[in-house]
Structure formats: structure tokens, C-alpha cells
């Protein structure tokens, strides 16, 4: 889509001078002003923009917090409390940062679900999807290490449990764990390296985001119909159309973010993390941050040995497999049709998958005992079956609905049939339609 030649014309002498030497303004213009986007994008497509402002917000608040934070087991907890009590607006910075992490994950989950629903990963967008998966992995690492920094009870015990996973790997497991910890148990070297990496990884995320956006601008955005852009009438320029729509999505999202920060800032955290880390006192239930809970449930669902693989290694493999499988989605889905809009059965299984993932999250917060284990096993089975069985098989046996010939046709068809109940559709009243 961005294959078309640039429409940027510098207006001033300085503009021409810069353009001849280092055409950054041209790049920005071509990427965020004249860049054509499908005209039928809905609000699910605003989460890319939302995620980029969340990344910037996290980096900005994080850099300032780092100025007041002390990465030392004897000082860390108190330094965070000093930020909360004595640093000017420190409570705001810290709540923005801790809740911002949660909001970042809410946004990324919606973004990923959007991709799965509209088949955004299909050719030619496989690399775009994989780069997204890499960003998600980096986010998980960053979030995990960030949670350790306040040095509360859940920080310490979460770190102990999660680094303990690596010991399940045969031969090199213990070596990897000790490398991560900088010793034999979670201690000062662990805190120091986690702080260093927690500061580094967001910039690596930013780097991969650049690649992600680059790849996006080469292949262009998908859209709810899943039909590629065919003519100029299918698209509108990024500015003002996508800019203003993204801006509205961002403000609604920021309102939710602000609601958490100002009214229930500790809702998404765990009370135990307000107790300073104590290596001699294990909390009753060690639970990770909410955004890892589905994977935690999968980890604990494997309570049986599979041949030579014992249950511990099996759990770790299942957990990492649950993320790894995302990388193969472009090739697991065999359907010729991209969007779930035209795939009634896929749509059903997709929503089941979403409900199942939320259910897994809830199970992850429960103790791994009794019936919860059996439920987690059923849910884990569906999680993998969705990718490994349903996606490949359904693509072959499902009869999709009739596809429109183009985005424009789909849009006009929708507006003809009323588009009732869709606030955006209502705006295109006949009098003002160009």
C-alpha cells in the first residue's frame, strides 16, 4: 500500500533543504498523514495507537521513577514507599506506572484478539504477526521483572517460582536459573539484574515496535471484511480520518486507565506486595500478576507425566507452548477466508476461546487443588485444541458466507441495510455523504 509514490511536497525553503538531506518529515507525512487506511476500520483497530501511547507513558513514568528508586534488597521497598509518600506527585507516577502495566496488557490482549478475529495474521502479514508476538514476549519479561522491583512478598516469591520453572529444563536448566538469579536464590544480584533489564527491555520493545509498524506500512492494514484494498475508494487518508478516530479511542481508554489510577489503584495488585519480602515466610498462595494467570493455570494443569517428560517439565513446556503456538498461527489457520465475519463456525469457536482464556485466568488465581485442577486441564485442552485442531480443520470443512467483492461494496451494502445500532454508521447521513 505504501508502494505508491510519496505525495509530500515541502512548503518552505527550510523544508526543501531538509527534505534533500534527511527526509524525516517526508517519512512522517507518508506514514501518518497521507498513508491510506481502509475506510471501514472499527474501534478494535485503534488499539495499535493506544498501545504506542501506553509504551511511551510507561517509559516516561518509569524513567522518573528510576531516579528515585534504589535497586538494593535493603532499600528497594522503602525507596518505593518514599516515592509514594515524599516525592512530589510520586504516588501519581507510581500508580500510573503500576496500573499502566495492567492497562498495557489489557490493550495488547484486545489487540491480539482483534488479530485473531479478523485473521490479521494471514499472508502477507505473517511477519507483522510474528513481530507482534515478539513484542508480547518482551512485554511479559518486562512486566515480570518490573513486578519484582518493589521487593514485596509477591515480588520475591513470584520471582522464586517463575525462575524455578527453568530448572525443569534437562541438562542446562539449573545453569539457566542460576544465570537469571545471579546466585542460588533470589537475592540482591537478582534484583540488580532485573532492574537493569527492566530498564533495557522497553527500549527493545520500542525497537521491535518500529519494525512492527514498518511491516504494517508495507502490507497495509487489514479491515473487518478481510478483503484487501483494491481501489482508491476503499481507503481514506490516515490524517484526518484514522488520526481522529484513534484519538477518540485513546481518550476513552485513558479514561478507563485514569479510573483505575485515581479510584482503585490497588485493585489489580496483590495486598501481600505491601509486605516487605521475607525469604523465610512463604505467602499462603503465590500468584503472579493477573495478566499471566491463564499461563499459570496451564502450567499447573499438567499434573501427570507424559512418557519421559515429568509433570514439572510438562507444565513448563505447556506454558511456553501456549505462547509459542501463537507464532505458528499464520500457518495453522488453513481457511481461505480471512475475517471471522464470514466464518460462522470460526466465530463461535473464537468467542469460546476468549471465554476459555478468561476462565483460565480465574483458575490461575485459585489454589491448584481439587476440582480446579480438572477444570484447568479441560480449559488447557481447549486452549491448544483451538490452535492445533480447530484452526487447521475448520479452514477445510467450514463453508464461509458470501464475501463482498470489495471494501467499498461491503460498506455500501451495510449502510443500505440501515447500519442501525452502530453509532459510526449513523454519522453517514445521506445529506452529508460526499
Amino acid at each position: 500500500m505504501s508502494g505508491g509514490h510519496s505525495t509530500y511536497t515541502p512548503k518552505s525553503g527550510i523544508g526543501r533543504w531538509i527534505d534533500a538531506r534527511m527526509p524525516l518529515p517526508r517519512l512522517v507525512h507518508d506514514s501518518f498523514v497521507s498513508y491510506p487506511v481502509p475506510r471501514n476500520l472499527n474501534y478494535a483497530y485503534t488499539f495499535g495507537g493506544i498501545l504506542s501511547i501506553m509504551l511511551v507513558a510507561q517509559i516516561l513514568t518509569g524513567v522518573v521513577l528510576a531516579m528515585h528508586y534504589a535497586a538494593d534488597t535493603g532499600l528497594a521497598f522503602e525507596s518505593v514507599e518514599k516515592i509514594m509518600r515524599d516525592v512530589n506527585s510520586g504516588w501519581l507516577l507510581r500508580y500510573l506506572h503500576s496500573n499502566g502495566a495492567s492497562m498495557f496488557f489489557i490493550a495488547v490482549y484486545i489487540h491480539i484478539m482483534r488479530g485473531l478475529y479478523y485473521g490479521s495474521y494471514k499472508a502477507p502479514r505473517e511477519l507483522l504477526w510474528i513481530l507482534g508476538c515478539i513484542i508480547y514476549l518482551l512485554m511479559m519479561a518486562t512486566g515480570f521483572m518490573g513486578y519484582v522491583l518493589p521487593w514485596g512478598q509477591m515480588s520475591f516469591w513470584g520471582a522464586t517460582v517463575i525462575t524455578g520453572f527453568f530448572t525443569a529444563i534437562p541438562l542446562v536448566g539449573t545453569w539457566i536459573q542460576e544465570l537469571l538469579l545471579g546466585g542460588f536464590a533470589v537475592d540482591n544480584p537478582t534484583l540488580n539484574r532485573f532492574f537493569a533489564l527492566h530498564y533495557l527491555l522497553p527500549f527493545m520493545i520500542a525497537g521491535v515496535v518500529v519494525l512492527h509498524v514498518w511491516a504494517l506500512h508495507v502490507v497495509g492494514q487489514t479491515n473487518p471484511t478481510g478483503i484487501e484494498v483494491k481501489s482508491k475508494t476503499d481507503t481514506v487518508p490516515f490524517t484526518p480520518y484514522a488520526t481522529i478516530k484513534d484519538a477518540f479511542g485513546m481518550i476513552v481508554f485513558l479514561a478507563v486507565f485514569a479510573y483505575f489510577v485515581f479510584y482503585i489503584p490497588n485493585y489489580l495488585g496483590h495486598p501481600d506486595n505491601y509486605i516487605v519480602a521475607d525469604s523465610l515466610k512463604t505467602p499462603a498462595h503465590i500468584v503472579p500478576e493477573w495478566y499471566y494467570l491463564p499461563f499459570y493455570a496451564i502450567l499447573r494443569a499438567i499434573t501427570f507425566n507424559i512418557g519421559p517428560i515429568d509433570s514439572k517439565l510438562g507444565g513448563v513446556l505447556a506454558m511456553f507452548g501456549a505462547i509459542a503456538v501463537l507464532f505458528f498461527v499464520p500457518w495453522l489457520d488453513t481457511s481461505k477466508v480471512r475475517s471471522a465475519v464470514y466464518r460462522p463456525w470460526y466465530k463461535l469457536f473464537f468467542w469460546l476461546f476468549v471465554a476459555n482464556a478468561i476462565f483460565l485466568g480465574w483458575l490461575g488465581s485459585r489454589p491448584a487443588e481439587g476440582v480446579y485442577v480438572a477444570l484447568a486441564q479441560i480449559s488447557t485442552f481447549y486452549y491448544f485444541a483451538f490452535f492445533l485442531i480447530i484452526m487447521p480443520v475448520l479452514g477445510i470443512i467450514e463453508t464461509p458466507r458470501r464475501l463482498p467483492n470489495s471494501i467499498t461494496e461491503a460498506v455500501l451494502e451495510k449502510n443500505k441495510s440501515g447500519g442501525a445500532g452502530h453509532p459510526a454508521g449513523a454519522t453517514a447521513s445521506p445529506e452529508t455523504r460526499g
Partner: protein, 286 residues
């Protein structure tokens, strides 16, 4: 396709059945419960709850009095500085006088000696025990927890679906509710057949077991109130819970007030952006 549908139905029924079994399993025997607290704390009404909540300064002052005269014998409050007590409505001079009631260790002086002096507003509440081991030794092996953050570090589990509603009701008072319930929960008798370990005290509101090392700390008329508030265990508990919430979250009022401005701005700005968006898109069917 019909088979798939049948399969799904079966899956759904199995899940529902299993869930029912899970919930049934949670019903524990009265004599030997396995989940704590045995009773959930009641939801009290607090002046600081909700989007416009503020601390009741008179209540915080009473709570401070209870802390000073009762709790502080065993519980430290390391993170709270005297200077911050001005939030409770005290003047600078009053805070100075209040701090001066305490002795703190300082030094070394020019001769290399440690010495004690009267505390100043910049000092923090001195701890009742010199270190963790001493605190544990004096208290039957269980060191009394520090109180600086206790109101945020304790909260009974809310359970499904309450935790979903909590988002909309802005419930963030799990800490004070818990503290109040614990302090007023000592008078209940343990059910017949329950064994209470030697040296511990039954309290069905305790978060980590059926009994705890701390004996009932408050009794009626133990602390004298100057403002005519009832001198009951319930009132003491309520006041000290509020005080501890303030100690854990001293900037809560500023947070909620800033929040109102931020939300109002976002609402207004969002409305304007939405109108602009409609205008921009009005000539394009989408």
C-alpha cells in the same frame, strides 16, 4: 457440524457440573475450616470511600490516640514521619510537641558515642523493639507486623462475582474493613470441637488461620476520648482502622481530587474529539 454442537453442549454441561462440585467442596466443616477468614468482614461505611471520600480528621486524631496508647506498645510504624501528622489537622507546634514525647537514638556524636535525644517532626515513629528478633522473642515467636502499610497489606478475599462489582463500586476499603472486623471479632466463641492452639486466640476474622497470637487488644473505656465519641471497642476499632488507612495512603485525598479533574477533562475533551470525529467522517460511508 451437529456433532460439534453436541460436543460443545456436553463440554459446557461438564464444566458447569464441575464448577458446582468445586463450589460444593468449598463448604468446609464448621469445626475444622480450611479457608480463612472463617467469616468475611462486614463492609463498614467510611468517610474516605467513594470518588469524593475524605479523611475525617477528628477520627484520625482519635485513631492516632488509640495507636499511641495501645497498638504502639508492640507494633512499629517505621514509614510514618511525625511531620506528616499535620495532615490530621495538627499545627506545626502541636506536631513538634507530639514528636518531643518520644526519644530516638542518634549519633555518633563528635566523641563517637551514640546518644538519645527528643524526636523532632522529621523523625519517624520509633519502633517498640530494637529489631525483628527482639520483637519475636517478646511475643511468643511471632513478631507483630509493622503498621505503616497494614491497611493496604491485608484484605480478605472477595470472591466471584463480588470482585467484578468492586470495580464499579470503587471498593478499596478491604484493609480497614478487615482491621475493624478483626479487632471486634474476639468475643465470638469457637464452634464446639475446634482445637485452639496453646497461646493463641480464636478470631473468625483472622486472615491466616482460626486463631492468632495477639490477644484481644482493646476493651471499652480503655482510651479516653476528649471529643465525647463513644469509648467502645467498636468505635476504637473504627478509628484506628481509619488512622491506619491514612498511614498507608496519606495522599488519598489529593489522589481522588486530582482524579475528579482528570476525569472531567477527559470526558469533556473526549466529547469534543467525538464530535470532531463525526464531522470528519460525515462525508465518508464506513
Amino acid at each position: 457440524m451437529k456433532k460439534i454442537l453436541t460436543g460443545l453442549t456436553v463440554f459446557g454441561l461438564v464444566t458447569a457440573g464441575a464448577l458446582g462440585a468445586a463450589l460444593a467442596q468449598e463448604e468446609h466443616s464448621a469445626a475444622e475450616p480450611t479457608h480463612f477468614p472463617i467469616h468475611k468482614p462486614t463492609q463498614e461505611s467510611w468517610s474516605f470511600s467513594g470518588p469524593f471520600g475524605t479523611y475525617d480528621k477528628a477520627q484520625l486524631q482519635r485513631g492516632l490516640k488509640v495507636y499511641k496508647e495501645v497498638c504502639s506498645a508492640c507494633h512499629s510504624m517505621d514509614l510514618v514521619a511525625f511531620r506528616t501528622l499535620e495532615d490530621l489537622g495538627y499545627t506545626e507546634a502541636q506536631v513538634k510537641a507530639l514528636a518531643a514525647e518520644y526519644e530516638v537514638e542518634d549519633g555518633p556524636n563528635a566523641d563517637g558515642e551514640m546518644f538519645t535525644r527528643k524526636a523532632t517532626p522529621n523523625d519517624h515513629f520509633p519502633a517498640p523493639f530494637p529489631n525483628h528478633a527482639a520483637a519475636a522473642a517478646a511475643n511468643n515467636g511471632a513478631a507483630p507486623p509493622d503498621f505503616s502499610l497494614i491497611a493496604k497489606a491485608r484484605s480478605a478475599e472477595r470472591g466471584f462475582p463480588t470482585f467484578v462489582f468492586d470495580i464499579f463500586t470503587q471498593y478499596a476499603e478491604g484493609g480497614p474493613d478487615y482491621i475493624h472486623a478483626l479487632l471486634t471479632g474476639y468475643d465470638e466463641e469457637p464452634p464446639a470441637g475446634m482445637e485452639i492452639a496453646e497461646g493463641t486466640h480464636y478470631n473468625p476474622y483472622f486472615i491466616a488461620g482460626k486463631s492468632l497470637a495477639m490477644a484481644k487488644p482493646l476493651s471499652d473505656d480503655q482510651v479516653t476520648y476528649d471529643d465525647g465519641s463513644p469509648q467502645t471497642v467498636d468505635q476504637y476499632s473504627r478509628d484506628v482502622s481509619a488512622f491506619l488507612m491514612w498511614a498507608a495512603e496519606p495522599h488519598m485525598e489529593a489522589r481522588k481530587q486530582t482524579g475528579f479533574r482528570v476525569m472531567a477533562f477527559l470526558l469533556l475533551f473526549g466529547a469534543l474529539i467525538y464530535l470532531t470525529k463525526r464531522r470528519v467522517w460525515s462525508n465518508v460511508a464506513h
